[in-house]
Amino acid sequence: MKLNVIKTAIIFVTFGLFTQGACADDFSKNNANDISINWADSFRLEAERKYYDAAKAIEIYTKSSPVNEFAIIRHGWLNYLMGNHNDSISDYQLALTINPNSLDSRLGLILPLLAQARWREATLHANKVLAVAPWQYYAHVRLMIAEEAQLQWNTLEKHASAVAERYPSDATVQVYLARAFASQAKKEAAISVYKKVLQMVPGHIEATRYLATAGK
């Protein structure tokens, strides 16, 4: 009798262990599938400009435990694309509380700040990135946007000139340098830089217009 009880218990436990293992295995497979489906969906929907649906597809991960930093950053990006700038700022700020060293999050945060014309706040975060990554391209370009908006032409000239030295084949930086020259009535310098822009981007509208107006 005692033996039967032990046998039954062994069978039950063994069966239980097997079935539990099988379930766990199935669950992890399904979960992995779900994960890749969700993320693939999100990227596909973003490509189709369905930003709301793209954000919805990954929303569960933004509230998951342990926290999913990538999901929060991506949610911030999608909110930015939707024009939900305050939500985007909140997402990026949340990501920064999770990982204060994240340059990704700080660079992302600058975008909605620029969209809301918060030039000083954008400048603050761009400078924080540059304090640890002095020649980070996007931080420089976003800082140049803020400088241009605040009509800081002298600062922009010096800034764009230094960045252009590091990224000599980049047309965007050259355009900012040309704008800084043009806005300070430094016509010859502006013409010279806009000519460089036309080499990098033949037919560049702004450069073509400026040179046509300047009679070059």
Partner: protein, 294 residues
């Protein structure tokens, strides 16, 4: 003496420490200070009593990023009178607190302002005014809508007192390009005796960079109609005269000297109707303003 020396050394060390470290912490700059100095001098023509008017003011604005700020403006006004009458000297004080909210649904920001004015002085009315105002600015900075109210109290002595309500609203917009800005503002000022209405139309033009010595922008402005005891919330100015201001005009030119530094020259003419006798006179003035933001 020793105490003073100690204080000097402490002040010197503090300033030196600040200057040496200012660049090190520049990337964490969150507070911005704007200092603006302003001088106006003008002549009253065809007035029986008023001769000259000189106004000197200093404004300091402290802002935390774009989120909120406070402004303090102090003006010393000297109005000389004809026929050897004693001059009127006034101290005008304005204090503003402001907060900005960014609202995605309306694609812009709402700026809330609360301004307190006080005027006191020799041979002048004692005035206080409180003026709440809010404005909407679109994110692309092409539309500005504002609405404001001002309550003012004028008292010569404890017996005579005038209470004035002002309602004002404005619309600013960029009609064709970012080179042009038009602002239309309506005022209604009323007290127990009368109501006056006025409209101001300002046009600002950025001609684009032609030469470094030329102004970066020009402003032409006019006031049509009449107003009395008006309050200008955006420039922290109170027109504390009992005479009615009527059709007035000004032009100004602005030079962007360096980044965040501006010089503005303005000249204009303000027409008035004297309250006691209905006599018309005007005030022709020149104004110089210099401002810098750190």
């Amino acid at each position: 003496m020793l105490k003073n020396n100690c204080f000097d050394v402490w002040l010197f060390r503090t300033l030196l420490f600040y200057l040496l470290n200012a660049h090190a912490y520049a990337y964490e700059k969150q507070w911005y200070t704007n200092v603006s100095a302003d001088v106006t001098h003008g002549l009253y023509k065809q007035s029986e009593s008023l001769d000259t008017g000189s106004f000197t003011s200093l404004a300091i604005d402290l802002a935390y990023l774009e989120r909120f700020g406070i402004t303090l403006k102090i003006t010393d006004a000297i109005i000389t009178l004809k026929n050897n009458q004693p001059e009127s000297r006034q101290n005008k004080f304005a204090f503003r607190v402001r907060k900005k909210s960014f609202i995605d649904k309306i694609y812009g920001s709402i700026n809330y302002n609360l301004i307190y004015f006080q005027v006191s002085g020799k041979n002048a009315d004692n005035v206080f005014a409180i003026a709440p105002e809010f404005n909407y600015l679109s994110n692309n900075q092409s539309i500005l809508i504002s609405a404001g109210y001002a309550y003012s109290e004028y008292s010569k002595n404890k017996i005579s007192q005038i209470k004035v309500d002002q309602f004002n609203t404005s619309l600013g917009f960029s009609p064709f390009s970012s080179k042009l800005w038009i602002n239309v503002k309506g005022y209604q000022t009323k007290n127990s005796l009368q109501t006056s209405n006025a409209i101001s139309i300002n046009l600002k033009w950025w001609p684009g960079p032609k030469a470094r010595t030329l102004p970066t922008s020009y402003l032409i402005g006019s006031l049509l109609g009449t107003r009395r005891y008006a309050v200008e919330q955006d420039i922290l100015l109170i027109y504390n005269t009992e005479d009615k201001q009527t059709n007035s005009y000004f032009v100004s030119a602005t030079w962007n000297m360096m980044d965040n530094s501006y010089i503005v020259f303005t000249t204009g003419i303000e027409n008035y109707i004297s309250t006691p006798n209905g006599q018309r006179y005007n005030y022709s003035y020149v104004n110089f303003n210099i401002s810098k933001t750190w």
